[in-house]
């Protein structure tokens, strides 16, 4: 079981779209996939038409009163399940802080599901906190969307810096950055992509375009490939997934 987390300190960069579409792509290829929506805003949960509610909330999960397995909901897609968001996740930091060995908590909750799923995708809220550190500890890879702007690149550097300074937290974590919401018509985007690629040769090759098809996820409440399978965006997510699996 590989655990991936879509993560960025910054909000609005396409994390949830990446989580939902990459998870869906993995399931289309025959992997058994679980998405855990850790963001109290519950956007991934919304996209899968699931009600954002976990019995007992985050507290029951973190304190071990309820197994994660019992919170799982089947989505409308084969081999793709979801642990929905819960508004109580806004206090995840506090809940973890009160738990024993907080950094290992998420991994411990996921461990019993090892034989049920090949891929787990954690959709994380934007911040660096105890919850993010627990994610870093549990995950095999961070999938980091970067909008080709100066500010977005800066947050990627912040993350990179944190990872380098805290080897005890991240252990074998792989950081896979990719360009998100790229508008090829904007010269700024084109220049930034070129410049950032030169500075960071490890970034993934496939850019995700800024496309109406992605924005329409909120209308269709489904992954792009479910309602626009031949769209540029769907193909981009498929190519990005292929790159990620090559590096896992």
């Amino acid at each position: 079981m590989k655990i991936l987390a879509t993560y960025n300190i910054k909000g609005g960069v396409g994390k949830t779209a990446a989580a939902v579409n990459l998870a869906h792509q993995a399931s289309l290829e025959g992997h058994r996939v679980l998405v855990w929506d850790l963001d109290p805003q519950g956007a991934a949960t919304f996209y899968f038409r699931v009600k954002p509610k976990v019995k007992g909330g985050g507290e029951a999960l973190v304190r071990g009163r309820r197994e994660l397995d019992r919170a799982v909901k089947g989505t409308d897609f084969d081999n793709l399940d979801l642990v929905p968001a819960d508004f109580s996740y806004r206090n995840l930091d506090l809940l973890l802080d009160e738990a024993k060995k907080p950094l290992g908590r998420l991994g411990k909750l996921l461990a019993p599901m090892k034989s049920d799923y090949d891929i787990v995708v954690l959709d994380c809220p934007p911040s660096i906190s105890l919850a993010s550190e627990a994610v870093f500890r549990a995950a095999n890879a961070l999938i980091v969307p970067i909008i080709p702007t100066t500010l977005s690149a800066r947050t990627f550097d912040q993350l990179d810096g944190f990872v380098n300074e805290h080897p005890e937290v991240v252990k074998k974590l792989k950081i896979m950055g990719f360009f998100s919401m790229v508008d090829a018509r904007k010269s700024l985007h084109r220049e930034m992509v070129e410049e950032l690629r030169a500075q960071r040769p490890g970034l993934l090759e496939t850019p995700i375009p800024s496309a109406t098809d992605v924005e329409r996820m909120g209308v269709h409440r489904a992954p792009v490939a479910a309602y626009a399978p031949t769209s540029r965006a769907a193909k981009a997510y498929a190519a990005l997934w292929s790159e990620i699996t090559d590096r896992l």
């Binding site: 290829e29 025959g30 992997h31 058994r32 899968f48 038409r49 699931v50 009600k51 919170a71 799982v72 909901k73 089947g74 409308d76 084969d78 081999n79 399940d81 090949d118 409440r221």
Partner: protein, 522 residues
């Protein structure tokens, strides 16, 4: 997750009208209709079904869409995996025939070396409906499966209620509603079970001996029954052996032959002496003619694991060996078929069947004794022999002693499997388990030695051909070294494994089984 619920439409019930009524009453919405040709697939021993799955190749009747292999859970109805096949693909036989995919990776350890065989073929019209909540989320699914079985038998239309994980209450409520309909009656298994039943298909083969003998019978009756069951196993695996469908047919055929030989050997005083001597000779011949092909099968089956011991870039160096093994296996199999088709083999089968059904007028003195008593005596003797011979083996003992012990252990195992049910049915499996650890170690020791030896011969054959690259011979040398290492490890483990078998706890198990009241310590 809760179970899938299935109902058959009975009598003159019209499934379409039923569905319309159900949809109106429950708010189900139609989500699609598929007309498809479906070929259900499984191994001869039903590995997919026994693991709670169903595998089918589904080809749409209309359009040019390619067929799909669908693997689903029989218990929950969940799709465990789908694989798109080539447009004009035949049903896959080997797991390697499937496109590279996570589903293939998951199926591989389940199917192992067995081929997939068509179990039934149906033409289906699948009508799907869904129950949705106020978010538009599917919370339960209903499928009307109206299938026609190719062949003369008929199948009833089947309605399935499929739960969605996390929304099980909705499926339960829907199933409750269907259960109240007079034209529906619950069915247990999936459509493939109904189809196999309608086709009067034979039960899935089993390599495990599921013998439950009546302890009130005489030794003659017990011996006769065991030998008859083993004869049926041989018959069930003969065609697959002859056709070389997959290597397990021959393997299971040989196990039945070996068990027969052991039961004959332990049948002194039960079977007529003269007949017993003749059958022992005949079954030895039958076993011997199958040995070269089985050895060749094992070389081929083990090759991937041996290749994996080499560095990845060296793996291709063993290709000439693979080609040689394939040709060798083919030759051995051709010779086997010739022997199986010989007059001697035909006469053996026919007269063996007669022998098992006709009365034994000159049976031995033990024949009329209670079966458990005779079985316990034979088992006690076999067990004591293993203990005695095993205790004689030290760290410096020659390999032959371990090979002999392996044969003794095998005989004991066959006795336990064939006659254990006459004794203590709860304890017999414990004795088998205790023996298994020792057998695994002895098997590994001998197999690695035999394999290394065979590779030496194959190496000679490749050298004699004159065109074999040196890299191939070097790679084979590496493999032989690895086998040697494995064999040494097994040899080192022997003392510990035997000590576990010779442990007071295991001795208690055997004593309880054979009821050695005099308390002999083995």
């Amino acid at each position: 997750m809760s179970q899938i619920q299935r109902f058959a439409v009975v009598g003159e019930g019209d499934p379409e009208t039923l569905l319309a009524a159900v949809a109106e009453r429950t708010g189900l919405v139609p989500t699609g209709e598929v007309a498809a040709r479906r070929i259900f697939l499984d191994t001869a021993d039903g590995r997919v079904r026994k693991a709670g799955g169903c595998l089918e190749m589904r080809s749409p009747v209309r359009g040019r869409q390619a067929p799909t292999l669908v693997w689903s859970s029989v218990e929950t109805g969940e799709t465990l995996g789908t694989v798109d096949l080539a447009r004009d693909a035949d049903p896959p036989r080997w797991v390697e025939d499937l496109p590279d995919s996570p589903v293939r990776d998951r199926l591989a350890p389940l199917l192992e070396m067995r081929v997939l065989l068509p179990q039934a073929e149906v033409m289906s019209r699948l009508t799907m409906l869904a129950e949705r909540d106020d978010e538009g989320k599917t919370t339960a699914r209903l499928v009307l499966d109206d299938s026609t079985l190719l062949g003369s038998a008929t199948l009833p239309p089947v309605v399935e209620v499929l739960p969605v994980r996390g929304y099980e209450k909705d499926a339960t409520r829907l199933a409750g509603f269907l259960a109240a309909q007079v034209i529906l009656e619950p069915v247990d298994g999936p459509l493939v079970d109904l189809a196999r039943e309608a086709l009067d298909a034979p039960a899935y083969l089993s390599s495990k001996l599921k013998l439950v003998l009546d302890p009130d019978v005489t030794a003659e009756e017990a011996w006769r029954e065991v030998l008859s069951v083993l004869a049926s196993t041989m018959a069930a695996n003969l065609e697959g052996t002859r056709d070389d469908t997959d290597s397990e047919f021959l393997h299971d055929y040989r196990v039945a032959v070996r068990r027969t030989r052991s039961v004959l050997q332990e049948g002194r005083g039960v079977l007529p002496d003269e007949a017993r001597a003749r059958w022992r000779q005949e079954f030895k011949w039958l076993g011997d003619i199958t040995t070269p092909t089985r050895d060749a099968d094992v070389h081929l089956l083990d090759l991937p694991a041996l290749v994996a011991t080499l560095p990845a870039e060296r793996a291709a160096d063993l290709e000439p060996l693979h080609d040689l093994l394939v040709a060798h296996q083919q030759r051995c199999h051709d010779e086997l078929v010739e022997a199986l088709d010989s007059e001697r083999a035909a006469a053996l089968v026919a007269s063996w069947d007669r022998f098992l059904t006709e009365p034994w007028t000159d049976a031995g003195t033990d024949a009329s004794r209670p079966a458990p008593e005779v079985a316990a005596e034979r088992l006690a003797k076999a067990w004591k022999r293993v203990v005695r011979d095993g205790r004689r083996i030290g760290d410096d003992s020659p390999a032959e002693l371990l090979h002999d012990l392996r044969k003794d252990a095998k005989r004991l195992r066959y006795l336990l499997e064939c006659f254990g049910s006459l004794l203590d049915r709860e304890v017999a499996p414990l004795a088998v388990k205790a023996l298994k650890g020792l057998q695994d170690c002895l098997g590994e020791f001998q197999d690695t030695e035999v394999q290394a030896d065979a590779l030496g011969h194959f190496g000679d054959a490749l050298v004699a051909r004159g065109d074999t690259p040196a890299a191939t011979l070097l790679a084979m040398g590496g493999v032989v070294e690895h086998l040697g290492e494995r064999g040494r490890r097994a040899r080192q483990q022997f003392a510990g494994r035997f000590a576990a078998f010779d442990h007071p706890d295991t001795r208690r198990v055997f004593r309880r089984l054979i009821d050695v009241s005099e308390g002999t310590d083995g």
